[in-house]
């Protein structure tokens, strides 16, 4: 329309508010977690030991690195280096895929051990352990969905960058998808110690 | 109400009166001032406003501080009286109440169960609440008490009834189709009546009539069931048992049968069992013919254990919450005419026509969601807590035709 009003700060602010809503979404699950942890401290620790810390640790590093590449992509586009931006975005998407593949193997292994919501082996381990894994699957699953959404978003922006629609003059879209991606990282920063490292 | 006799209600009522009373005053004040302003400053008389004040700090402070004080008193009064609902007096009589779709079961310390709450007047009663399926809530308006029953978590309420009477108990947590029918009552008995009710034999297990007669007629003063036979021969399963008797001085061996027993009771002096003195009184006309049959039957078959009352079981297990006996369809099909019904059920998606028989009924009760009766939802809970004997008794009653009290 005639008055194309442009407000980059406003757009970023809007994105931040959207991220708030995501934090609240996950905080619902953290409430469940905190309550159950205070109810079943021992069982939670037992259950936590059944999770593979190597998978979790590796995925933490993968996500941290992807956050790095995404942050760098912004610097790159600000400097007008289109090719560098594209490479950085693609690495982010690659790391996201790596995360998902990793997750897939981790979950397959656990499901192979008979640990999945509603399984009888899980029920035999008592309420605390059952609850831990139910929550774990739900939270990690929701996080996984966010990884997929984030990667898709970055994919779209990458295409726009290559078309020149997102460039050193106008890159709010890239910034906003980077913000989203960092949120995905942030959630994992909490998931990792809470689920894999309880002693 | 007198606080000494209905303590829970009087505590709550005081709070209600205080809050509603002060609310009414506030509402009246605000409304009157508003209407007065509207009339006094109407445009036809005041074409222009006579003031353009935009605020007044002192007024703002006043109407912040005053309401704060008012609501704090309301909070405090409400809280203190709430504590009264939670502190159960020492020595309260305890009853367990279980809510389930869609009926209540009350269980007393001596194991007695009932579907209405029977308690003595003038004594604090603690009702411990539990649920077997979803949330329900135990609400007795007359005593202003209410608490949810939560599956897996125990909650409680307490109350004290001032006098004998009957009070409604509602379920106030929405629990599905039968929610509005999940009503029962508290029957407040006088202490004497209550003691009598409380010590009656437990309900579903009734003593067979024959056994009851043996007790009433005093037979068991001499006879026993435990094999001891110091005064008189012991009872037990007498069918086919051999006996040495002497009839008019002549000894012979006979096998116990109905005729023999009839004679042994009506005219005991005729046939005397060897080794016992001839002291048994003759029960000529004291025992009616039908009672005699019951006794003989009982003696022949022996003590087969308590007989279960199917109707009571149906009532206590909440079956009547969903099934009627008068042919009307509630949540589940009616029990009326069950025995000669052919039901259409769906099993694994295929439709079948089944003749109602004991086997079908057993499946319908044990695994209700395997075969679903056409046009009904698959919501009937499996009766896993019932023993085989109880199920048998229920099936027997269902096939005979249940009747609801």
């Amino acid at each position: 329309m005639s008055h194309e009003h442009r407000d980059d700060t406003g757009a970023r602010f809007g994105m931040w508010i959207f991220l708030y809503t995501e934090v609240i979404l996950f905080s619902g699950l953290f409430i469940l977690y905190a309550v159950s942890l205070s109810k079943f401290p021992e069982q939670y620790s037992i259950a936590s030991h059944k999770l593979n810390i190597y998978f979790g640790g590796a995925n933490t590093l993968v996500l941290l690195t992807s956050s790095l590449t995404m942050a760098m992509a912004i610097t790159a586009i600000q400097r007008g280096r289109k090719k560098q931006t594209l490479i950085l975005c693609c690495s982010t998407i690659g790391l996201a895929l790596l995360f998902l593949v990793n997750k897939f193997f981790e979950w397959s292994a656990e499901i192979g051990h008979g640990i999945y919501p509603g399984s009888e082996e899980l029920a035999a381990m008592g309420p605390g352990v059952t609850n831990f894994f139910n929550l774990y699957y739900f939270t990690a699953g929701l996080h996984g969905i966010h990884v997929i959404i984030g990667a898709t978003l970055i994919g779209v922006v990458t295409v726009l960058v290559s078309k020149g629609r997102v460039n050193s003059e106008q890159y709010t879209l890239l910034e906003n998808s980077a913000l989203y991606w960092h949120l995905v990282d942030l959630v994992w920063i909490f998931l990792f110690p809470l689920y894999y490292l309880i002693l | 109400m007198n606080p000494l006799t209905n303590p829970t209600a009087s505590g709550v009522d005081n709070v209600l009166i205080y809050i509603f009373g002060s609310s009414l005053l506030l509402l009246a004040g605000i409304t009157i001032v508003m209407i007065w302003f509207v009339i006094r400053y109407r445009r036809s008389k005041n074409p222009e406003p006579t003031s353009d004040v935009e605020g007044n700090l002192w007024l703002e402070i006043t109407w912040t501080v005053l309401p704060t004080l008012i609501v704090l008193t309301m909070f405090w009064y409400g809280w203190v009286n709430y504590l009264g609902l939670r502190d159960v007096p020492e020595g309260a009589f305890e009853v367990r109440a279980t809510g389930r779709m869609w009926s209540w079961q009350f269980e007393y310390e001596n194991g007695r169960t009932s579907s209405k709450l029977y308690v003595p007047a003038g004594k604090p009663i603690k009702v411990i609440l539990n649920s077997t399926d979803v949330l329900h809530s135990f609400f007795m308006p007359a005593f202003r008490i209410k608490r949810d029953t939560v599956p897996g978590i125990e909650t409680y309420v307490w109350f004290q009834a001032p006098e004998v009477g009957s009070y409604d108990i509602f379920c106030t947590e929405y629990c599905g189709t039968g929610h509005a029918d999940m009503i029962t009552s508290a029957e407040i008995l006088s202490p004497e009546e209550f003691t009598a009710w409380y010590s009656e034999k437990t309900t579903a297990q009734t003593v067979p009539r024959g056994r009851q007669l043996l007790e009433e007629q005093g037979c068991l003063g001499c006879h026993s069931f435990d094999g001891s036979s110091s005064i008189a021969p012991t009872f037990g399963k007498l069918k086919g048992v051999k006996r040495e008797i002497s009839t008019e001085g002549q000894k012979k061996e006979i096998t116990i049968d109905t005729d023999y027993l009839r004679r042994a009771i009506r005219t005991p002096e005729v046939d005397l069992v060897e080794g016992f003195p001839p002291i048994m009184p003759a029960y000529g006309d004291e025992i009616s013919e039908s009672d005699l049959d019951e006794i003989i039957n009982y003696l022949l078959e022996g003590d087969t254990g308590p007989v279960l009352d199917g109707n009571k079981l149906l009532e206590e297990n909440g079956c009547f919450g969903c099934h009627s006996t008068d042919g009307s369809a509630l949540v589940g099909p009616s029990f009326k005419g069950l025995k000669d019904r052919t039901t259409e059920v769906k099993r694994d998606g295929t439709e079948l026509q089944l003749k109602v028989d004991a086997d079908y009924l057993r499946r319908a009760i044990r695994q209700p969601n395997k075969e679903i009766v056409e046009d009904y939802p698959a919501i009937m809970p499996a009766a896993n807590h019932l023993s085989d004997e109880e199920i048998d008794a229920i099936i027997k009653t269902l096939l005979k035709g249940a009747d609801q009290q």
Partner: protein, 541 residues
């Protein structure tokens, strides 16, 4: 609405696309606002007819027009429609969209396309909700509160119903994000925080609740969904869960949601009363800050719905205390409204009638809320029809009346035509009387102990229920007259100019209907306050 756009001019005609497409692809805030308004009024009528059916069933004890299951489904659908499809979006999404940008001197909201997306989410939610009624295992029968474990066990179509509510929550979040950003970024020159109309202030407070509380209902409903499909047992005690925790999660959203409902309504009242008293709003800053206070304190009191749930006594004390704290800013608002009338020049036009009755009805509802907030009293009143009376007083008597006030106040702005005032006054009187008869009776029978969600009741509750049902008929007649009058008004009413009431906020300075982009070529510059009526003259009718 699309048939004869030329009738009105303004944003009705200036559109790059014409016809239906010009509406459903438009990112103009006024067009989106009207789309919302149409849908919301439709949903209200559907929900209200269901409410009437509920009352018919309760006319006398016994099975009346419905079986138990039908009744349960009816009040569930009535509640879900009224809450998620009518009242939460009612004032913010419809009137907020129509007016917020104009009132702050902006050309549109910050994210016009997100705004349109939010409307599509609303439509998707509405479609899901309607599908849920007619498909699967039948209409949902859980009540609008979806309490576990019942909601995870029932065979009815709960899955679709929670998806619908999830979608509607998303729509509400997007609106909230848009409004917060717009108010921060797009105020015109001179529009300082002290010059914002109160309606904008309340929308601002509301938008923050929408953003910070709504995701909680999202996750809660998602948990029900997952529970029904995978049966993990997150709320099952045997599996380490806790059914009471569900209620916490549910009310963490749903209590603040009642302030999403009422705050914009309070904003509308704060606009209308000064205009018809021709006097500045009394205590501007107290009104603005109390809105924020309600929004904040309202996030702290959710567990007052759970006094009887088996929650700890400690929590009951804390939450009861906090509940009473929220009442204070509401009281401040009531007193300021009444003081605004003092020495004014009061005209009882239809919007003013609704606004004044709002004060009365909301006070009754709110004071009833105080009884519910007190721990001991709530034990008796919880889940009785007293609660039903309380929330109809606050939601219908409060927000509903504010919504009707807004319709009477602003529709002439957007359609440039005036409805008949005499008929509007008659309709108001019927609604007001019918409303009080219906819900007073309901509150009274609740105090006697009649539980809610009962399709059948004991005979001792008979007389008052009959009174309530008869009241609902008076209410229905009034509502029908009101809607017909408004409809005739916007179609065939007498044309009016840009400022029929003599309002001083910016929307009254632009033409009726406002043009696309609201303010010609020049951005507006604001020099005076929103309630400074000096020199503002109402158009002669």
């Amino acid at each position: 609405m699309s048939e004869t756009p030329s009738r009105y001019g303004g944003f009705f005609t200036e559109s790059p696309r014409s016809g239906i497409l010009g509406w459903v692809t438009s990112t103009d805030h006024k067009r989106i606002g009207l789309l919302y308004l149409g849908c919301i009024v439709t949903m209200f009528i559907v929900g209200a007819v269901l409410g009437l059916a509920l009352r018919l069933q309760l006319f006398e004890p016994g099975t009346g027009i419905m079986e138990a299951q039908t009744y349960n489904a009816t009040f569930t659908v009535h509640g879900v429609i009224m809450i998620f499809l009518f009242i939460i979006p009612s004032i913010p999404a419809a009137f907020g969209n129509l007016l917020l940008p104009i009132q702050i001197g902006a050309r549109d909201v910050s994210f016009p396309r997100v705004n349109l997306l939010s409307w599509y989410c609303y439509i998707a939610g509405a479609i899901l909700a309607v599908t849920a009624i007619f498909s699967g295992g039948g209409p949902p029968d859980t009540g609008w509160t979806f309490y576990v474990p019942f909601s995870t066990q029932t065979t009815t179509n709960v899955n679709l119903a929670v998806s619908a509510a999830f979608m509607l929550g998303f729509s509400s979040i997007l609106t909230g994000i848009n409004f917060v950003t717009t108010i921060h970024r797009l105020r015109c020159k001179g529009m300082g925080w002290g010059k914002l109309p109160l309606f904008v202030w309340t929308l601002y407070a509301t938008a923050w609740i929408q953003v910070l509380a709504t995701p909680m209902i999202g996750i809660t409903l998602a948990l029900i969904f997952v529970e029904r499909i995978f049966g993990a047992g997150l709320f099952d005690v045997a599996k380490g869960g806790d059914p009471i925790l569900f209620q916490h999660l549910f009310w963490i959203y749903s209590h603040p949601a009642v302030y999403i409902m009422i705050l914009p309504g309070m904003g509308v009242i704060s606009e209308i009363i000064p205009v018809f008293a021709r006097k500045p709003l009394f205590g501007y800053w107290a009104m603005a800050l109390s809105s924020l206070a309600i929004a904040f304190a309202g996030s702290l009191v959710w567990a007052h719905h759970m006094y009887a749930s088996g929650m700890s006594d400690m929590a009951i004390m804390i939450f009861s205390f906090l509940t009473f704290i929220v009442a204070i800013p509401s009281a401040i608002k009531i007193f300021n409204w009444v003081s605004t009338l003092y020495k004014g020049s009061i005209q009882l036009a239809p919007p003013m009638l609704y606004a004044l009755s709002f004060i009365f009805l909301f006070a009754i509802g709110g004071l009833g809320g105080l009884a519910l907030g007190a721990a001991a009293a709530d034990i008796h009143l919880h889940d009785t029809t007293f609660v039903v009376g309380h929330f109809h007083y606050t939601m219908f008597g409060g927000t509903g009346f504010a919504f009707f006030a807004a319709l009477h106040y602003w529709l002439p702005k957007f359609f440039a035509r005036m409805y008949n005032h005499k008929i509007a006054t008659l309709a108001w009187a019927l609604i007001f009387v019918g409303f009080n008869v219906t819900y007073m009776a309901m509150q009274a029978v609740g105090i006697q102990g009649m539980p809610r969600r009962y399709y059948d009741y004991l005979p001792q509750f008979g007389p008052l229920n009959m009174v309530a049902t008869i009241g609902s008929w008076i209410l229905a007649v009034g509502l029908i007259i009101m809607f017909v009058n408004l409809w005739r008004g916007i179609r065939y009413g007498t044309p009016v100019g840009k400022n029929p009431w003599g309002g001083a906020t910016l929307e009254w300075e632009v033409p009726s209907p406002p043009p696309m982009e609201n303010f010609g070529a020049e951005d507006p510059v604001v020099t005076r306050g929103p309630y400074d009526f000096k020199g503002v003259i109402a158009d002669e009718p």
